[in-house]
Structure formats: C-alpha cells, structure tokens
Symmetry: C2
Subunit: 207 residues, 2 copies
DNA sequence: AGCTAAGCTTAACAGCGTTAAGATTGACTA
DNA sequence: TAGTCAATCTTAACGCTGTTAAGCTTAGCT
C-alpha cells in the first residue's frame, strides 16, 4: 500500500471521526448549540481543520443526513421483507418513522428541518442519494398497497408525498411548537396514521 | 392629553412602525436574511433602538405572530359564520390555512417554525394569546362536525391536533425541503385534506 | 541535508444578538 | 431665562457564528 493510499485511508478515517463527533454533538447538545467551533473543541482540533475534510457546514450536515437515510432505507426494506398485508406494512413504516422522530428530536430536526441540503426537487431527483433511495423504497411500499387494490385511484407519488408530509407534521409540531409531550404526540401520530390509511382505502370497515 | 400619555402614544406608534418594517423585511427578504441590524438599517435607526421597544428578537417575533393569529382567527370566524355543512366549513378552513402558508412561505415560516415563541403547552394554555384564540375557534369548527354526528368517536383535541399537524406538514415540506413547487403542494394539500376528512368521517361515500 | 508537500493552526473578516455607557434633546421648574 | 432631569437615541463593545488567507510544523523522498 503506497503512501498516497495510506494518506487517503487516514483522511477517510478522520472524516468518519469528525462525522461521528458531529452527530454525537447534535444528539446530545441539540441543533441550536451545535457549531463548527464546538465540534472542533470536541475533537481537539482547530475549527479550520474541519474545513479540510468538509467543504462547509452544509456539507457536513449533508453527510450526516445521508448516513441516517442509509439506515432508514435498510429498516424500510426490512419491514417490507417480512410483509404480510401491504397496508399493515405501510402503517408499520409510518409509525417507525414517526417514532424515530419523536425519540430523536435533535437528529430528526437536523435531517428534516435543515435548509435545503438536497437542493431543488429537480436536483434531488437527478442526483443519487440515500435520501432518494429511501423515497423509492417507501414509494414501493405504497405501490404494493395500490397493486393489492387496497387504495383509491390516486397517483402513487401524491400518496407518498401526502404520507411523508403527515409524518413530517407530527415532528414539526413536536419539535417547533414545544407544546407537545411525547405521549400526546404518540396518540396523535397513531390517530393520524389510522385516519389517513382509513381515508386512503377503497373499502372501509364500519364500527 | 398629558405629556406622559403623548409619549406613550408615540412609543406605541413607533412600536407599530418597527413591527411593520420587521414583517415587511421578513416577507420580502426571507427568514434567513432577517436580522436586528438589517431591520435597524431599514427604519434608519441604530440596532439598539429596537431594544427600547422590544425586549429582544423573540419578543419582536412574538408580536408579529400574534398579529397574524389575530387576522387568522377573524378569518376563521368569518368562514364559520357563513357555514352550511360543518365538514365543508372545516375543509374550507384547512385549505385556507394551507393556501396561506403556500403563498406566504416566509411569513408562515416565521410564525410556525420559530423556536417556541409560545413556551410550553402549559404556559400556552394558561396565557391569553391570539394563537390560543385561533386554536379555540378552530376547535369549535371541529366540535361542530362532531356535534353534527359526522365524525368517528375521537377526542376533539386529538382531531384538532391531527389536522393542524397535517397542514403544518404541508408547509414543512414546502418550506424546508425546497423540493416542492406550488402546484404540487396544492395537489398534495387537497389530497391530504380529502383523505383525512374522509378518514375521520363515520360514513363514507363509495365511488 | 535539503526540498516538498501534507496537515494543522493562528489571525482575521464580516456578520450575528445583546448590553453598558455616554451623548443629545426637549420639557418642566426654580 | 437658566438649570435640571428624564426620555431617546447612538457608539463601542462582548462573545458568539461560519469561513478564508496565510503561515507554521513535520514527515517522507531524493
């Protein structure tokens, strides 16, 4: 292994180290308290060093987001793999997302409430990313419901957006309004999922 | 009119002036570009002068939020006044909120995505505010639906939260993801409202 | 031993919210 | 009318932010 490769390896490892420290700082201290200088202090380097491994703060945030979406898309695939009823799979996936958001508000805030780390919709569609992969897996889960004839005749992408928006809203409320307890958010999350899935379905069971 | 009253009047007027300039700055330049110093420049005073009329930046934001909620609760009351079918009234109210958010992203962002201007849920419930008034009007519209026997047996507050969360989500997506066009958001907003109202209702019309 | 370049740091810029202290101004009183 | 006092506004500063330019240190290769 040549020197250049060794350096490259080292560089990659350091990048990891910074990334891990950054995520930890976010989770423990919260979104507001995060700063490049605090991160630098945590890893015992000067703030400018970080800029040798990440173009800027947004680049760092992007990396963390991508990592999360990697895990999340894995989890979605897993949920889908042990699928019985497609609608129940979808319900499971939605509740998983919301629960993650409610239990990890700082991380969720970082991921979803950061100003446009993924650019415009066009850029997002064109450029390969874990976020896009996650979207596609989620989309397939919805498509499964449609294929099974469970849903009304609505465009799959519209349904996907509708659903992601709903779970988004739960977190938005929980994080930004600060009026919500975890228990209350849980109740509302379940109600929202129930109501939406009920509203989407073609046939509805009466009580 | 004594001097003290005159001063008080003037002070109130200046407060208004600052408030109007602040809102304008928010709407035109966007949330990110807003700062106390830029606002000061706009009104041709030094930045510190603002602090004689508002305790701090949050206090200023609070004032703007309250003003909006004043208008919004009026609008809701108006919609409710010319009510025919309660569910249609609710639909109307929801679409009005979402449409406002989609057409005034900066203002909406300021109002709903600012860190806890209204404190915890307990503080929010106890302390009189336009935001709370708006909530109550909205709550009554939902209660109308329940009283008319249109909805399933779900707690009124849970429904209100569910609905506000949903509209919240539309804006969250539209504002923060930057992947969404106005048209697409419109479609998704209508779909979301349709699906949720359908899901909430006791009896559902099949197509 | 001397050169080269990678790796890291110090110093600085321009911006932020906010506060303390001082200047200005206008009105009331002695 | 001169003097006092308080309201009003500004200048200067603190400590923070993201980010860049320039310089220092050190390790590897010739």
């Amino acid at each position: 292994m040549g020197v250049k490769e060794k350096r490259a390896k080292y560089k990659e490892e350091f990048r990891r180290e910074i990334l891990d420290a950054a995520r930890e700082l976010f989770i423990n201290e919260g979104y507001e308290k995060f700063s490049m200088r605090r991160l630098a202090e945590k890893i015992d380097y000067s703030a400018t060093t970080i800029y040798l491994y990440f173009r800027n703060k947004d680049d760092l945030l992007f990396a963390i987001c991508e990592e999360f979406f990697g895990h999340f898309s894995d989890k979605l695939n897993h949920i889908r793999a042990l699928s019985q009823d497609p609608v129940e799979t979808l319900r499971h996936a939605l509740l998983y997302l919301m629960n993650f958001g409610l239990e990890n508000p700082n991380q969720y805030k970082l991921i979803f409430f950061t100003k446009s780390v993924y650019g415009t919709r066009e850029e997002w569609v064109e450029q390969e990313s874990m976020a896009r992969n996650t979207y596609f897996v989620f989309r397939e889960i919805v498509q499964d419901c449609i294929n099974a004839g469970k849903f009304q005749d609505i465009d799959v992408d519209v349904i996907v957006d509708t659903l992601s928006i709903a779970s988004h809203g739960v977190m938005a409320k929980n994080i930004h309004c600060a009026n919500f307890s975890k228990e209350r958010s849980d109740i509302v999350a379940h109600t929202l999922v129930d109501v939406i899935l009920r509203g989407l379905q073609r046939q509805i069971s009466f009580e």
